[in-house]
């Protein structure tokens, strides 16, 4: 009863406040806004300085987010979209819904960044994660993995972001040889799941020796669970990157607040939240450095990333090859 009175009072106050403060609406993917993602801390930190009400709206994952923006078109309520990655930015740019950011920062990315519209906020490498207590020497590349009798779980590129990452990883590393790699890998693949959660859950249940995830995944187990048994296997071909970006909508009614948010996004306050909530590398390393534990993560010898303007065409070719090789 007390709580409901409090809630009622809070709502009255909130609506009074809402009438006076401008609202910045940020569309993002669902796990960003969850209680265990960066959303709550980011909202608190930004609202402390902006004199505004920051409202997150979560939608599925990055691809679903873009689909939603395309459905809503120019009438969207969003002022900022946060959570697309480089596989999606070319398509996103074609919609003409986004405006140049005017942000320039010194990014700590393994690749040069000069996109005028999309501002990176974090990044990571895809990798196969394994359990050190069960597997002594992980394979050193795709070919060694294929030659071994190790079992892996991967995600479907049609429904999952990491799944698409792996598709481009193999394509970028092997080019025309990619179909051959998939063919030799096919007997290692236990199964293909709809999303990351299913695959990672199956790996933790012992269904596979390795799972497609991120090089930063072991950091969660180490920092949050004091469990140092999980590790990512470094592959000699290099590792494919995911760079997550945000952009301002061209039709925003809060252009200044949106600019302010993007500026805030590349600041220490935002960037220091990322590592232990989104479990990715911040786009700009905070002044205090990365949290303890991140130094144990592997650093790939080579960073792979298909340029945004080629990703779209390449993924269709790679998907067709993948489907053919695994449908046999």
């Amino acid at each position: 009863m007390k709580t409901s009175i409090f809630a009622a009072g809070f709502c009255v106050m909130a609506s009074v406040a809402a009438a006076e403060t401008p609202v910045l609406t940020v569309y993002t993917y669902d796990s960003f806004v969850s209680d265990w993602g960066p959303g709550p801390a980011v909202e608190k930190a930004f609202e402390a300085t902006c004199g505004c009400d920051l409202q997150f709206v979560g939608t599925g994952d990055g691809a679903a987010l873009l689909a939603r923006i395309r459905l809503e078109g120019a009438r969207t309520k969003a002022d900022v979209v946060l959570g697309l990655d480089t596989n999606l930015t070319a398509t996103a740019a074609e919609t003409d819904l986004f405006a140049p950011s005017g942000i320039s920062a010194k990014y700590d990315l393994p690749v040069a960044w000069d996109d005028a519209t999309f501002v990176p906020y974090d990044w990571g490498y895809f990798a196969f994660v394994y359990d050190k207590t069960k597997l002594d020497t992980p394979p050193a590349d795709f070919k060694a993995l294929a030659a071994s009798d190790l079992k892996i779980v991967i995600q479907d590129p049609r429904s999952s972001t990491p799944g698409l990452g792996l598709l481009l990883w193999v394509k970028d590393a092997y080019g025309d040889e990619a179909p051959m790699i998939w063919e030799v890998l096919s007997d290692n693949i236990v199964t293909v799941t709809k999303g990351w959660s299913e695959a990672y859950g199956m790996f933790l249940e012992g269904e596979a020796d390795m799972v497609l995830s991120y090089t930063t995944s072991p950091a969660y187990h180490l920092i949050a669970e004091q469990d140092d048994t999980k590790a990512a296997a470094p592959f000699a071909e290099g590792h494919y990157m995911q760079v997550e970006v945000a952009a301002k909508l061209a039709g925003t009614d809060q252009p200044e607040l949106a600019d302010k948010f993007l500026q805030f996004m590349v600041s220490d306050a935002f960037q220091s939240i990322i590592p232990t909530t989104n479990w990715m590398y911040p786009a700009i390393t905070p002044a205090d450095g990365l949290p303890e534990g991140f130094e144990t993560l592997i650093t790939p010898a080579k960073s792979l990333l298909v340029p945004a303007d080629q990703a779209d065409a390449l993924r269709d070719v790679a998907l067709a090859e993948w489907l053919t090789a695994l449908s046999k």
Partner: protein, 519 residues
Amino acid sequence: MADRAFKITPLIRAGFGAVLLLLALIIAPLAALLWRAETPAVLGAADWAAVRFTLLQATLSAGISVGLAVPVARALARRRFVGRGLLITLLGAPFILPVIVAVLGLLAVFGRSGILSTVLGWVGLPPVHIYGLHGVVLAHVFFNLPLATRLILQGWLAIPAERFRLAASLDFGPRDVARVLEYPMLRSTLPGAFMVIFLICMTSFAVALALGGGPKSTTVELAIYQAFRFDFDLGRAALLAGLQFTLGAIAAGVMLRVSVPSTMGGGLDRTVERWDITAGWRDGLLLAAVALFLIVPLGMILIDGLPYVFSLPASVYAAAGRSLGVALVSMVISTGLALLLALLVVRLRRGGVLVESIGYITLAASPLVIGAGLFIVLFPLTDPVALALPVTALVNAVMSLPFALRTLVPAVREVEGTYGRLADSLAMGGWVRMRLVLWPRLRRPLGFSAGLAAALSMGDLGVIALFSDPNGATLPLQMYRLMAAYRMDQAAGAAVLLLGMSLLLFWIFDRGGRADADV
């Protein structure tokens, strides 16, 4: 009575309203997607392969579920034993589990490092290979065998005890009982049970992919997902959804045609006194095997999640409360719609089959397309996010409608057949008839379908993806968020909470319908 003039009463008008609502919910999203499509839609060879695989796995899954359910229902109908009621309640559990939880539970038993493979390993045998068409079918049987058993069991218990008495006096053996009493009942029950399960399996996606072992197990629903999310080809998504829908409609039409009406809706806790039964060890063995098949995976889920149920983050309990609200609203909508439709079906007679099939084929509607289509329709009018929970409740209600119809149509038919003329002669029409005759006479089947609707709505993630409101997450969504945040243990706890709440809701309403229900 056969040609009692057809009168448009307020209830009938409301029934037609319910039909229109259903049609709108099914057709409007497809139309909206086609309208927004940027390029003309074409289906490729891969899409047709998906159609073939979908039909194959759905036919196998439904056939095996129903085929296995016949002896199980037979055993349950004629045996009395301690825990029989509990077993029947537990039969409802797999069906309301979130897909991802059920898959992990199944893998804990049948997976590469599951119990079965471990035991095989002790005697030097290789682990079970669950992934493939047989894995998909196994999972679908796990989900649907219990449902099929319940549907067929109702048919068995609807055979009047007097018939068995008569059979005994005529010195019928088991074979004669089967031919004279049981076969006609199965003839009227099986087509409906097969159809419902076939339709459920048609829209399967995550299960089919995860246990199918790869892209060769692509279903139409996955193709829709790809068209929408990967290619943003709305026209193709709508076309595929329309195709899936048409296949479902054909299946529903065929099944309702070959099906002959029967009466159901009786209590499941009675056993019929039988005289044609001899040794029971075969029934016992069968029931034990089925119980193991269903209960061991459930047990693994419980073992995984139970330690975390009471230490979940507060937001998970808040989400549980929200889901409870959605489930209750959804239950009211579903039961209300089902009652109106059942009245219409019984009143319309021949046209009733059409109305009934409309109620069923909602099962073949793609949740993703309904979600996206409603979003397109609602977006220009209002803020879809603000409508997240009402839309979820509505769509969940429509998705559980077929089960409510399956129970209510025969029950309404019976009440109207027995008391319709008396009520007519006393001028009891419209809401008076509903309040004083139908409601009290239908309490049991209403309780059963309300419980099922509430339980299904608790567990279903349905269309919420596009509508999700960060501050209004339901329990299944919160469970997925825990998983996405690496918190698999807590997610397992949330799954147990979800399972417990669903079963409790079902139990309460099912019981409530039975309490002091008069003869």
